[in-house]
Symmetry: C2
Subunit: 198 residues, 2 copies
């Protein structure tokens, strides 16, 4: 019965609402939405809000300003990125592996993303295969931080260590060995949290 597929424009409007809530922590007013899409009538915006409501993506508290709630869980997520290039996570659609559902924990900032850990090289630190690491993009890190580094083409999670004058990326698993930091290794972010979903 309920066809919850969105048209392109409806998706655009929903995305705008989502971004406002996510980054400005404040749902837009009808007129703010209208301005964004150059609608000269508030009625047009209502048509969209009605459509989104009917399709179950938002909920609106009548009479209140800015009272748009996001309903579909699909929105309460951080992007899980596949490729990481030249120190910059690639947000392009083809690299978006999906979304990490953070349950009711929403509103991640724009410089936070997630990567899915592959392998058990950090097993003894409790980072298991399949875990998500939440990363804040940054090009620096301190010794003993757990970082995501790019070695050539591959993103890897390791602990930054210093022995003598040299820096290493240490695994937490005796089956793996430390990787010396060379000019090819770039730190792209610091692991803020490990999240495992059950």
């Amino acid at each position: 019965m309920t066809n919850d597929k969105l048209t392109d424009k409806q998706r655009d409007v929903l995305k705008f609402i989502y971004e406002q809530i996510r980054f400005k922590q404040l749902a837009p007013t009808i007129r703010e939405i209208g301005d964004k899409f150059k609608f000269s009538s508030t009625g047009t915006v209502r048509d969209y809000l009605d459509a989104l409501t009917k399709k179950g993506y938002i909920r609106i508290q009548e009479g209140k300003s800015r009272a748009i709630e996001l309903v579909k869980e699909a929105l309460f997520q951080v992007p899980v990125l596949g490729r990481v290039q030249a120190g910059m996570p690639v947000y392009a659609a083809e690299d978006l592996l999906g979304y990490l559902n953070l349950d009711q924990f929403v509103f991640p900032g724009p410089d936070v993303f997630a990567l899915r850990v592959r392998g058990l090289s950090m097993k003894d630190d409790g980072i298991m295969d399949g875990d998500f690491v939440l990363i804040r993009k940054q090009d620096h890190a301190q010794v003993n931080d757990i970082v995501v580094a790019l070695i050539g083409d591959e993103a890897t999670v390791k602990r930054l260590a210093k022995r003598g004058r040299d820096f290493f990326l240490d695994p937490a698993n005796p089956d793996f060995h430390p990787i010396p930091m060379t000019s090819e290794a770039i730190i792209i972010g610091k692991v803020l949290q490990v999240v495992r979903e059950y």
Copy 2:
């Protein structure tokens, strides 16, 4: 210079704003705050908002409705509870060990709380001493779920298992042994996520 200590009333107002944002996902208007505290004047509310702004707890975007932002990180957190009694987490102040900073991940729901894991009984599942487990309150669980159970006085994280007719709470560490589910063991919630902070 800046004394950021709040008076009791100011804290009450801040708490109300926080709760509205957290649970209703919508900051209150000046009049909504006034209604709550039976202020007959909007000016009174402004005095409070000014005080909270000056002390650095909130930020207000002028001219916009409901444009109250929470500033202090202290607010973007889930409660970490100490005691868990009779299947109900105790939210009383004396049991509030502190708050788990979820970084920019905010707006946990009202039935979600966190416990800090003690010991290494779930080590092989990657749940380490000191990790936080995010729990949704619920009195049921499925076999193989990782649950928080109350055995007598103590809350423990284990995996729910069934062997034959009997249910057990299995550890994930050969140094510990399974605990049979008896009438004294109550499931108080399901582990949704493991969060480890660095």
